[in-house]
Symmetry: C2
Subunit: 230 residues, 2 copies
C-alpha cells in the first residue's frame, strides 16, 4: 500500500473509497461495517481495500486522517482571524470593558462555528465517528486529538482565560472551556434525546438559530457570573 509510484487515477480511487468508508463506518461503526459493502459503495473491487490501505483497519485510519484534514481546512480561515484578534487582546488592559466584550465575541465566534460544524449533514457523520473514538479510543483518536480537537480547545481556552483573568492552564479555565463545548455537543451526542425533548423533527437552520440564540445568552450569563464570583 501507499506505494511511491502511482497512476493518475489512484488518488480518485482512494478518495472514493474513503468517502464510502466515512459513510458506512459512520452508520454502522467499525465492526458493523463490512468490506464488501464498502467496496460496492465506492464502486471498486473488494481487493482494493487491502491493496491501497492494507486492510479494513488501514482504511479506517485513513478516514480519520481525511476528516482531521477537512476540519482543519474548514476552520482555518476563522481561526487565523481569531488568532489575530487574540494577539491584539493580549496587549490590552484586562479591566477594559471593551476588551472583555471582544473576548466574548471571540468565544461566540468559535462556538457558533462549532455549532455549524455539528449541524452540517456532511460533518454529522464525522462527529459520529469521533464520538465512537471518544468512547473506545483506537489509534485513530491520536490523529484527531493532535489535529482539530486540541486546536479548538487551545483556541477557545485563551479568550476564556482572558475573560476570567486567569492563566489558560488554570483548571477552572479548562473546565469552563469544556463546559462551554458540552452545552453545544449535547445536541449531537444526545441527538435522539434532544429531538424527543424539544419535539423537533430535525436540527436544521431554524433550530440552529434557536440554539445559537440560547448559547449566546448562556455564554454572557455564565462568564459574567463566573468572573464576578471569583
Amino acid at each position: 500500500m501507499n506505494s511511491i509510484k502511482s497512476h493518475k487515477k489512484t488518488a480518485n480511487t482512494r478518495l472514493a473509497m474513503i468517502n464510502a468508508a466515512i459513510e458506512i463506518f459512520g452508520r454502522d461503526g467499525y465492526h458493523g461495517a463490512n468490506n464488501r459493502e464498502l467496496a460496492k459503495k465506492a464502486g471498486v473491487n473488494l481487493a482494493l481495500i487491502s491493496y491501497h490501505f492494507g486492510g479494513k483497519e488501514g482504511l479506517y485510519l485513513a478516514v480519520f486522517e481525511h476528516i482531521a484534514a477537512q476540519i482543519k481546512l474548514r476552520l482555518e480561515p476563522l481561526t487565523a482571524q481569531l488568532q489575530l484578534d487574540l494577539l491584539s487582546l493580549s496587549n490590552v488592559d484586562v479591566d477594559d470593558n471593551n476588551a472583555k466584550d471582544q473576548s466574548l465575541k471571540i468565544i461566540e465566534s468559535l462556538l457558533f462555528a462549532y455549532i455549524e460544524l455539528l449541524a452540517t449533514e456532511q460533518t454529522a457523520v464525522w462527529i459520529k465517528l469521533i464520538l465512537a473514538e471518544q468512547q473506545a479510543p483506537s489509534p485513530a483518536f491520536a490523529i484527531l486529538y493532535r489535529g482539530p480537537i486540541s486546536h479548538l480547545l487551545q483556541l477557545l481556552s485563551q479568550p476564556v482565560a482572558f475573560y476570567l483573568q486567569k492563566n489558560p492552564d488554570h483548571m477552572m479555565v479548562k473546565l469552563t472551556t469544556l463546559n462551554l463545548i458540552g452545552q453545544i455537543q449535547i445536541f449531537r451526542s444526545f441527538r435522539q434525546t434532544v429531538l424527543q425533548h424539544t419535539g423537533w423533527q430535525d436540527i436544521k437552520a431554524d433550530e440552529l438559530d434557536l440554539i445559537k440564540q440560547q448559547i449566546s445568552l448562556n455564554v454572557q450569563a455564565l462568564l459574567a457570573g463566573l468572573s464576578i464570583a471569583k
Copy 2:
C-alpha cells in the same frame, strides 16, 4: 424464551448473561460483540442466548430493560424527595428569593446525582451503551427514553422553569435544561478529550469534586444571568 414456568436457577442464569452482555456490548458495541465470548463470560452455554432471549438482539434489548430499571431504582429516593420539594415550591411567590435559592438547590441536587451516575465504574458502561443508542437508535432507545431519560429531563425542567419564571414547555427552558446536562455529559461523551485536555489519568473522586465545584458555580452564574437577561 421467557416461558411462564421457570426453575429456580433461571433468574440467576439470565442475570449472569445480562451482566456479561452489559460488559461486552459496552466494550465492543453490538456488532463488535460475539455470542461465544458473551456466553463464555457469563459461564453458560452458547445456545442459552437463543433459548432465553431469542438471540443476540433479544439479549441486547434485555440489557437495556435491565439498565433502565437499575437507573430508576438508583434515582428513585432522590427524585421522590425532589418531587416533594418542587410541590412546596409551586405554592410560593416567585419573587421570593428563598424560593429561588431552593429551586437552585434542587437543580444542583439533580445535576450532582447525574455526575455521580456518570462516574461510577458500573454506570460508566451503561452510559457507553446509551451513547451508542443516541447515535444510531435501535428499538432499545425507546426503552431508555420512556424510562430514566425523560424522567430526568422532566424533573430538571421544573426548577429551571421556576427559576426563569417561565412555563416548563417554553423552548428556552428546554434548551437551558439540555445545556445544563450537556455541561456534565461532556465529561463522559468526550471522555478521552477531557482526559487529554485536563491531564487527568482518570475521572475519580478528586476530579469529580472539581467538576461539581465548577458546575455549582456555573449553574448559579448561568441562571442568575439568564433570569436577569429576560
